[in-house]
Amino acid sequence: MMLLQYAVMRFATMLLTLWVVSILVFVIINLPPGDYLSNQIAELRATGQAEGVAKAEFLRREYALDRPIWEQYLIWAGFAPGPQGFFGLIQGNFGWSFEFDRPVAEIVGDALWLTVLVNLAAVIFVYVVALPLGVLAAAKSETWVDYTAGFVGYLGLATPNFLLALMLFYYGHKYFDLPIGGLMAPAFEGQPMSWPKVKSILVHLIVPTFVIGTSGAAAMMQRLRANMLDELSKPYVETAIAKGMKPSKMLRKYPLRMAFNPFVADLGNLLPAMVSGSVLVSVVLGLQTIGPYLLTALKSQDQFLAAFVLMFVALLTLIGTMISDLLLVLLDPRIRMGARD
């Protein structure tokens, strides 16, 4: 019961946060002077195309861009009736992209799932890599295993994501014949899901996952190692060794469980960085996630598209953080029993 209550509370907090985020996003998006349409109108006027102006003016009214900014926000979010009545984010209308001249939902459609997929793959990669390496580095601390792992980790932290992406891409293609660019072979784009398509996506995922996950895995590994080292110096470990337990079983049974908590809790820190990375890497590698859309939208002031992408990215991290919090509660009875304020 406690757990359910906590989950509901946590969900409510998330919604509240999302609301604040939506205000933040809307303000940021509207920071640049003017908007896509007013820029377009000015351009059309300058070139003397009167009929275009009429259409743009119509769109401006249709999307309430001629109203004060707070009213625009309320209409966009769906808290207030716009020209088409209550029809905003919470009613499932993501807005209109002026740049592509199509509804936002239609443009980003597939990209949303691919974004989730890429990030999920990267998170799994981080845990799969960081867990054994971190434990190994701690168990064999101050040997060459530890130093190598540490050095590789530092290098992973220090190399800019996008460069790593370019390099891996180049060498991956040259020596391992990995595909270049995109998330699937061009032939599969727009096709329904099928086994070859899934396979193509998986092969294309290798490099992006590695690139996005590396710095996160490095950081995670370092922290797990530090936590493990703390635990390894405790008396109960000595007791376990003294009674003749096998080192591998001892590690698994006691210190790892203790060190596991921060490992899970870290997902909250990891995810924002990860999603950041995936946006950048998607742009460089030409993945069909929402990263490239964000960049074009920001550059051309296509405000609804940019705002939606930002909202989606924020939602992704918020959900991830919530899941990590819930997992933590499931995992650790001390937290579950209300040691929390």
Binding site: Y154, L155, L166, N269, P272, G277, V279, L294
Partner: protein, 384 residues
């Protein structure tokens, strides 16, 4: 000092009973904190080396124009995409000092690119303290003396030249001026905001604490890069490079403060219950004074260590923004702007040296990480 027949050393000075035996030990106990910190830091070899390296890097910044053979936007139109040239010392078995071989460009009409032919018969010694293109020393004093430059009739592209025939080595030095200071300005902003909000939350507690805490949580749960992108997209495109530079560094700082604020807050929460704080308050010190004089100095060193660790994130952030074309823009030169040219696979394949700026980025970021680790390990000298 005398030597006994048994080869033992014995101090012959008269011995008195009054000498305070604990004096030697006292010197150790009374040593000021910075001596202890330094003593501990010195043993952290990697941190020490990184610190010296970074110091050198920052010392070069004001005189980058003097050290580099070319200026940042000086073009050698006849030498586009020139591969890196080595500086040689020996020619045909004779030592003749540092020199380069002249090269000539040939158009490769089959692959549509320039190829360079090196003439290995005529070594051309480098010139030192020579006159070259004009630049401003420390940004103020006009000068045209360069530490070394190419001899007439030859070029000296240590790390090659780029798309427009500009020297990559010189551009990296000039780029360092922006790329390295972005982190410093950003961290100053983040420091100020972090300490302000962290102190506010930690010292006053209650509702203030709640509000600040929620703000921290929200900002921390958002992915940084998209926000950076959105904010820097808001910078008007007609602003000058200097203004853009400052705005970008402030943007980087604005989104970085929550981590610092959280650290400050938790320290304040524990420290504000201490007697010395109570004493100061009872003597009528205002909150501002208590925070500045009594609380902050207690963990300033910690804050500096954690600040050192967040500078790399800002350097990488600037690089990423400029790389995507939303940060600094040409004619400003930064490492990110330079990498913007190396964006596609073709240029990495054919002209790998255009990606050279990644080396200084990696090295500097690593150095900051090591320095931060060293500082963090040594800044608490009283802990054993």
């Amino acid at each position: 000092m005398g030597i006994q027949p048994s080869n033992r050393f014995v101090d012959t000075a008269p011995w008195t009973d009054d000498a305070d035996l604990s004096e030697i030990a006292r010197a150790e106990f009374d040593a000021p904190a910075y001596v202890l910190v330094w003593r501990k830091f010195r043993r952290h070899k990697l941190g020490l080396i990184s610190g010296v390296f970074l110091l050198l890097c920052y010392l070069i910044l004001p005189v980058a124009g003097f050290v580099s053979p070319y200026t940042a936007n000086e073009r050698s139109a006849d030498y586009l995409y020139h591969p890196p040239q080595g500086i040689n010392l020996w020619h045909a078995g004779d030592f003749i000092g540092p020199f380069v071989y002249p090269t000539t460009a040939q158009a490769d009409l089959e692959n549509y690119r320039w190829t360079y032919h090196t003439d290995e018969t005529s070594p051309m010694p480098l010139e030192f303290f020579c006159e070259g293109a004009q630049y401003n020393l420390i940004g103020l004093i006009p000068s045209d003396t360069h530490l070394f430059c190419a001899p007439d009739g030859a070029t000296m592209f240590l790390w090659g030249s780029d798309r427009l025939g500009r020297d990559v080595f010189s551009r990296i030095l000039y780029g360092a001026q922006l790329s390295l200071t972005v982190g410093l300005i950003g961290i100053t902003v983040s420091f100020a905001l972090g300490i302000f909000f962290g102190a506010l939350a930690g010292y006053f507690g209650g509702r203030t604490d709640w509000i600040v805490n929620r703000a921290i949580e929200i900002l921390r749960s958002l992915p940084e890069l998209p926000l950076w992108l959105a904010l820097s997209a808001a910078v008007p495109s007609n602003w000058g490079p200097v203004a853009v530079f400052f705005v970008i560094s402030i943007i980087l700082g604005i989104l970085d403060w929550p981590g610092l604020a959280r650290a400050v807050r938790s320290k304040f929460l524990s420290l504000r219950e201490e007697e010395f704080v109570r004493a100061a308050e009872m003597m009528g010190a205002r909150p501002g004074r208590v925070i500045r004089r009594h609380l902050l100095p207690n963990f300033m060193s910690h804050l500096i260590a954690s600040a050192t660790l967040s500078i790399p994130a800002m350097i990488l952030g600037e690089t990423a923004l400029s790389f995507l074309g939303l940060g600094l823009r040409a004619p400003a030169v930064s490492w990110g702007v330079m990498l913007n040219d190396a964006q596609n696979l073709a240029s990495i394949e054919i002209y790998p040296w255009t990606a050279t700026p990644m080396l200084p980025i990696i090295v500097v970021v690593l150095a900051f990480n090591f320095l931060g680790d060293g500082l963090r390990a040594s800044l608490d000298p009283y802990r054993t």
